[in-house]
């Protein structure tokens, strides 16, 4: 038996058709173009405005990734931080202009409560024809305008996580035309041949190999890591990237990128303040560490394949916060 969580929502607006939402001291509303996040501090009413498509793309990732690792910044002002059982939501806390004047807000919520609210927002504010997971060229502009239908199929995709490796019986499925995963238009040149397995008698079905690149070429989402191999707590989470990573990700642990194909430009900022720190252009074959004290946002002019490598050790955030593990992975 599951318990329904009551989400605080206003009736649909007579003007736009969208509902407004409230969680703690945060109010959320949207109109034809924009989302407004409002809060009150020092007896002042504060308001932060974002383009609705930017907000929805970021929120889609936050929901689909279960608030991910660390900080999911929708932009330089608004975001969430995963405390694994609780989630912090903030506006301005990691922006010096707000935080320096004490005009920011940060509140902590039990994960189920904030997740229910975010799902309700996503469902009500995503119009028919708009897929927050797709690249702009692949989806419509129906995010613009008053409320018009919905797109539950797009927003309720499950993140694909394997136990060991896709394709192994009982594990995540491989992708094919038959199960609804055609080759993406940007990867038409990716060979679809699978490894050739020659098993000795008695070992049929006991050797496991697949074409990772063909698998990735059939991904129907962008900027959405899915686990494709598990070695202890080491997770390979490759993903296909096009346009802009919808969030500035401030990890709570070191992660690594290995560019499988094409190129991505990364903007690297200080995790706490957002101050620019570096620019990294990754080309096919390049490898880069993302330290635990930065936030990063990627730009891909063409759909590319990126290996995101995570260490899922649950003690890592504490180790970094306590200074037991440096923010960078190696010294030389």
């Amino acid at each position: 038996m599951s318990t329904q969580i009551a989400v605080q929502a206003t009736p649909a607006s007579n003007l736009t058709g969208y509902r407004g939402f409230q969680l703690g001291g945060f109010s959320f509303s949207r109109d034809e173009y924009f989302v407004r996040v409002e809060w009150e501090v020092k007896s002042q009413k504060m308001m932060h405005i974002m383009s609705a498509d930017v907000f929805l793309r970021a929120m889609m990732r936050d929901v689909a990734w279960g608030f991910f690792y660390g900080f999911v910044n929708f932009d330089a002002v608004f975001g969430t931080r995963n405390l694994y059982g609780n989630v912090e939501m903030y506006a301005g806390r990691f922006h010096p202009a707000y935080h320096g004047k004490g005009l920011d807000i940060l509140e902590t919520f039990k994960t189920p409560i904030i997740m229910s609210t975010f799902k309700a927002i996503l469902e009500n504010w995503t119009n028919q024809g708009f897929d927050p997971f797709a690249a702009p060229e692949e989806t419509g502009h129906t995010w613009i305008g008053p409320k018009n239908g919905e797109n539950k199929a797009a927003i309720e995709r499950e993140r694909e996580v394997c136990k060991r490796m896709p394709g192994i019986p009982g594990d995540a499925r491989l992708r094919s035309d038959k199960n609804g995963y055609p080759v993406n238009r940007a990867f038409a040149d990716v060979p679809q041949n699978e490894p050739v397995i020659e098993a000795e008698p008695g070992f049929e079905g006991k050797i496991h190999a697949f074409s990772l690149f063909a698998y990735l070429s059939r991904s129907d989402v962008t900027w959405n890591p899915s686990v494709t191999s598990v070695c202890g707590r080491s997770l390979f989470c490759p993903t296909t990237e096009e346009y802009i990573l919808p969030i500035k990700h401030g990890n709570d642990r070191v992660e690594w990128f290995l560019q499988f194909t094409d190129e991505i430009d990364w903007e690297i900022e200080d995790r706490e303040t957002g101050a620019p720190r570096a620019k990294v252009r990754m080309k096919a074959g390049d490898v880069a560490a993302m330290p635990s004290d930065i936030r990063h946002q990627g730009y891909a002019r063409k759909r590319s394949m990126l290996l995101v490598w995570e260490n899922a050790n649950p003690d890592l955030p504490r180790m970094h916060e306590a200074g037991e593990s440096p923010p960078y992975p190696v010294e030389f």
Binding site: I197, H208, N313
Partner: protein, 120 residues
């Protein structure tokens, strides 16, 4: 050689040319081919813990082919991934030079040369 490291875990980049020695690990490992045509042979070790102790981490180079049953082989090209399962020994073959990455744990075979391979 390690090209990425996160505490005890590594991604190792390996140049494949000719035939390698036999290796085994006490845990699963994974290979993704980045370039070339590479073949891996797999052998189910008869007594895995006598070859690689259960608490030994990372890829271990073996003195020769261990006792066990040949499982078969996998012929791979760019973008292909194979599971090197716990309890199996493996050997690579490549007629021409190729490259693969291995997802594994830091071990006796891991080579670290960060100052030589990293941009400062």
């Amino acid at each position: 050689m390690a090209v990425a490291k996160n505490l005890e875990y590594v991604i190792e980049a390996v140049r494949a040319e000719g035939s390698s020695s036999w290796y085994a690990a006490a845990h699963d490992e994974f290979v993704v081919v980045m370039d070339g045509d590479i073949e891996v042979e797999l052998l189910q070790i008869a007594d895995p813990e006598s070859v690689v102790a259960r608490d030994k981490k990372g890829s271990q180079k073996l003195a020769g082919e261990p006792a066990g049953q040949r499982m078969g082989r996998v012929k791979m090209g760019r973008g292909h991934q194979v599971l090197l399962p716990q309890g199996a020994a493996y050997r690579f073959k490549s007629v021409k030079p190729g490259v693969f990455i291995m997802q594994t744990i830091v071990g006796t075979q891991t080579v670290e040369k960060w100052s030589e391979i990293c941009y400062a």
